[in-house]
Structure formats: C-alpha cells, structure tokens
C-alpha cells in the first residue's frame, strides 16, 4: 500500500505531529509525504530525512502559504490517484483538510486513530474517549487522521527520501486568508511537552492564572494548559485548552491544578504517564485518575511548590 502523509509544518520546520503520522503510515505500507506551502524547500528537505520516508511531494506556491483547505484538499485528492491512503495528523490543519479530501474521493474518513490493527482495520476513541471502537473500512482508498499521542514519533533523521515537485494547482478564490494571531510563547508546545501544568477555574482570574502558573511552568520547563472552564472565563487563550475538543496531550507528567476533572477534560489528558492533581475539593473527579493528589488551597500550594522545586 502507498500512503500519502500530509506534513504539518509552520513554513520553516516539520512539526512533531507529522512524525506520529509517519509511524502510523509505515504500519500500512510505503510512506510518501505531501508538503504544501510557500517557500517550503527546506521543509521538504527536512521531511525527506525522516526515517522510513520514500518520496516527498512538494507543492510550493504563493497561494499555499496558509494551507487553506480549499487549496490543499484538491491537491491531496489529485495525488491520491497514485496512493492508497491519505493520512494527516489530527491537528487543526489536518482536521480541516482531511475530510475535504475524503469527500472529494467519496471516502468515509476514519478520524483520530489510536492503532492500526490491519490494512483496513483501526481503533479510534468515541464518546470523549469513554469507549474505543474498532472499525473496518470498506472503502478502497482510505483517509485517516492520526492521534499524535497514540504513536511513537518517527526519527527525524536516517531517512533518504527523494524530493519531487508537484503541480501546486490554482487558488480557489472563494476563500482568502486574512490574518492570524498566534500565541507567542517560549514554553514547549502542549502536544510535545514532557511536563504540562494545567489550570482550571479555581484560579479565579487571568492575573492569578498566569501569576501563579507561569513561574511554576518556568521552574519545571513545562508547557501550560487549561481546562475549558478556564478558557471560557478568559483566564487563558483557546490554544491552551486540553480536552475532548481541544488538544489531546500525553506528557510524562501532567499537573492539574484547580481542575475538577469533567469527562471532557479527562478525554484530553488521561493518557499522561503520571497525573498529579491539586484541588481544594477532595471529592473532585480528577483525583480518581491522579497518581498523586494533594487536597488544599492552590493559592497557598502553588507558590510554595514553585519555591521548593
């Protein structure tokens, strides 16, 4: 089987989410990549070095700079004439593009796979991860998104793929990129951080959220996450949200502070290796999944913890 993996990148570097998708693709067969963007020669060169990669298809054009689904999906669908599976990381880019490719190919997508059980059989989470479904597809071609935390990352080197330019297609004038407001942070990205400190509504305000959590995160070299409640309350921006519909994370250590542990939140972090919970309510559901729990006032505990680390 020949697979085509959509490379997640920011115009400069290949993102980690790609590496998990490559591992999933390698379980199905030959791994080809698609790099779509503007001035992405260096990205393609880096992608070709990923272990196990065969061919890297590069569509380099001004109109692909922001990887709009309206432009990338027809490109992916066209390249699928010579491939059997289109595979994208389950990131916001992948989730935006892959179903559009699937519909163009008249294929039912398999979202967010956790494992490859056979060439047409996969497991995936449903109901916020409260159930794991094993599905077999009848479609001849496959379109799949891959949960990054469920697969090992392929090595960034050791591969010797060949880079090949492909026709970038034309711009779909119905859709136009206007602007972006990206969070700037020196901290590790949530989906690749080894340690995450995450805050909930218990912090009470934006100032207290950042005033208490940021120093702790800096001390630990951790990424900062948040529950939906904290994001809704405006304590943290949307890209901090961990949960069913936010980011799915599985760090070595996840420290949940002032987070009660709604199932929607647990869906996003319960595969973390070690979970530490700090909450004033000893009955909070978060303690049912925590390896280490501390009941108490976060306003006292967090500064003390930051100081003693």
């Amino acid at each position: 089987m020949k697979t085509l993996v959509l490379v997640e990148h920011d115009g400069k570097a290949v993102k980690d989410a790609t590496l998990a998708a490559v591992t999933a693709a390698a379980k199905l067969g030959e791994v080809h990549l698609l790099v779509a963007g503007k001035d992405v020669g260096p990205v393609a060169e880096a992608a070709a070095k990923i272990a196990g990669v065969g061919k890297v298809h590069v569509a380099d054009a001004a109109h692909l700079e922001h990887q709009l689904a309206e432009d990338v999906a027809p490109l992916g669908a066209r390249l699928m004439a010579d491939h059997d599976a289109f595979i994208a990381p389950a990131t916001t880019t992948g989730k935006n593009v892959a179903p559009r490719v699937a519909a163009l190919l008249d294929v039912m997508q398999i979202s967010d796979i956790l494992s490859v059980e056979g060439e047409d059989t996969f497991t995936r989470p449903i109901y916020a991860g409260n159930a794991i479904s094993t599905v077999r597809t009848k479609d001849a071609k496959k379109v799949i998104t891959v949960r990054g935390t469920a697969f090992e990352k392929a090595a960034r080197d050791g591969g010797s793929g060949t880079v090949e330019a492909v026709d970038a297609g034309s711009h779909d004038a119905k859709s136009k990129f206007v602007s972006e407001a990206m969070s700037k942070s020196e901290r590790p990205e949530l989906t690749s951080a080894k340690i995450i400190v995450s805050g909930g509504r218990g912090f009470g305000s934006n100032e207290q959220f950042h005033g208490l959590l940021d120093p702790l995160a800096d001390k630990l070299g951790a990424g900062v996450g948040a529950s939906r409640a904290a994001v809704d309350a405006g304590y943290a921006p949307n890209d901090y949200q961990v949960g069913q519909t936010g980011k799915i994370v599985a760090p070595e250590i996840y420290i949940a502070i002032g987070i009660s542990g709604a199932i929607q939140h647990l869906a996003g972090m319960k595969d973390s290796k070690t979970i530490i919970a700090i909450n004033k309510d000893e009955e909070a559901p978060i303690f049912q999944v925590a390896d280490v729990g501390l009941v108490g006032d976060l306003f006292k505990i967090v500064p003390e913890l930051t100081e003693k680390l």
């Binding site: 990131t91 593009v97 094993t134 407001a181 890209d239 070690t274």
Partner: protein, 249 residues
C-alpha cells in the same frame, strides 16, 4: 439570506457513557439525550444573525430517528423558523450526512450552512468539511467569530497555535467552536410557539441519497482504566514524589 443549521440528537454531555456488555456499542437505552452542544452554538449563531437582520430565515435540519423531532423542536424554540427531519433508524456516517445536507442545500439554496464542528458521540469532526467539498463551497471551520459582510463572511477560527481569520465568499459552510457564543435557554412561550412551527419529514431514499455505511464497527470496548493513586498531605511530600519521578533533582 437563508441559513441552514444542522443539529444532531446525541447523549447529553453530562452523562457518562457506558459501553454495552456485548461490545456492540454504547448503551443509549434510558439515557438522557440532548442536542449536540456544538449544534446548539450553531442554532444560536443563526438565530442571532436573524435577530440582527442579516438572515431572513433559519431552517434546522436533523438526520436521525423519529425522536430527533425533539431536537428539532428545541432548535425551533431557540429561534429557527422551520425544521426538516430526514428520518432513518440507521446510524448515518458523516459522509452520508454531508450528502443529505448537500441535497437539501440544493433545494433550499441557503447563503450559509452552520454546523457544530463535531458531535460528542462519534467525535468525527468531518461533516462540515465534507459538505463544503461536495458543494464546492469555502469552509470556515472551528469558528470563534462570524461576521457577515456583503457577499462574504469573515470567520475567526480557533487553530492549534492561536487564531486565524479567513474571508469566504458566500455561500459558505461554517462549523462552530465552543467560544463562538453562549447558547440561550429557550423560554417557555418560545417552547410553546415552537410546537406549531412547520416540521417536514423525509427519508434518505426520498432524497435519493445512498447512506450505506462504509465503516463496519467490529467491537466497542472500554478504555484501560487508570487506578487512583495516593494522596499526599503536604507540598514537601509532593516535592518528594516529583523528585522520585526524576522531575527535579
């Protein structure tokens, strides 16, 4: 401009799903069902656009069993003008749903279709994108802000790194994210009024749409359970644990 909103009847978001003993799926017998939360946000957004005078009519569509009428009545009570139920007892996959909605869009000619970005039962996050592809329309997925202009709509999207704004020519498909709005509760008078709003029922066959499933569910199991660990009594003990884990020296 006419707006189409799609709503799905799903397990209530407060209910903890239980896997059936025979591994065939999740037990929905005697479980509280509600409108998918993201679809509530879609109905709210459409209603607000009508209240602002941007939209002239809001049509709610649901694909599902007879009981999905209740979900449509909720949409009507929130502000939709009329409803269409595509009735089927089969579970329709996102691709099938997208094909049905595309067919309805051909008939209704809406200026915009608003859907939830995902349903909290199958967590697929596909239907809106597929629908846009089938219609050849632009898509604004994971929307946190929607502003309709002259012949176009500006959509702010929640993306992994922050936010992105795109401008789409109408007609367009928009899928909602959590922070687009806070859906209203339907008032009692509006719930009463909703009972007399028109609700048409059709079947996938009548629309001529093939909704045969492409995915076969072989089994559904519970995920591995985490065991609750230990409670510590002080920050010092917690620091000790973190040291044991090698987080700090």
């Amino acid at each position: 401009m006419k707006l189409l909103v799609a709503v799905k009847r799903v397990i209530d978001f407060n209910v903890k799903p239980r896997v059936k003993m025979d591994g065939s799926g999740v037990d929905l017998a005697n479980v509280k069902m509600s409108m998918n939360p993201f679809d509530e946000i879609a109905v709210e957004e459409a209603t607000r656009l009508k209240e602002k005078g941007v939209a002239t009519e809001v049509v709610a569509v649901s694909i599902g069993p007879m009981k999905a009428q209740e979900t449509l009545r909720t949409a009507l009570a929130m502000g939709a003008d009329r409803a269409i139920l595509i009735q089927t007892d089969e579970e329709v996959e996102p691709l099938g749903v997208a094909k049905i909605l595309a067919k309805i869009a051909e008939e209704e000619q809406p200026g915009m279709i608003i859907l939830g970005k995902q349903a909290i039962d199958d967590d697929s996050n596909q239907t809106g994108q597929m629908l846009a592809a089938l219609l050849g329309w632009p898509q604004g997925t994971f929307a946190s802000k929607v502003e309709v202009g002259d012949g176009s709509v500006s959509v702010e999207r929640e993306v992994d790194g922050g936010a992105e704004t795109v401008e789409l020519k109408l007609p367009a498909v928009v899928t909602t994210d959590l922070r687009l709005n806070e859906p209203r509760y339907a008032s009692l008078p509006n719930i009463m009024k909703a009972k007399s709003k028109p609700l048409a029922t059709k079947t996938p066959d009548e629309l001529g749409v093939d909704v045969a499933r492409r995915l076969e569910t072989l089994k559904v199991v519970e995920p591995a359970k985490r065991q609750a660990g230990v409670k510590v009594a002080s920050v010092d003990e917690l620091v000790g644990k973190l040291k044991a884990l090698g987080v700090v020296k």
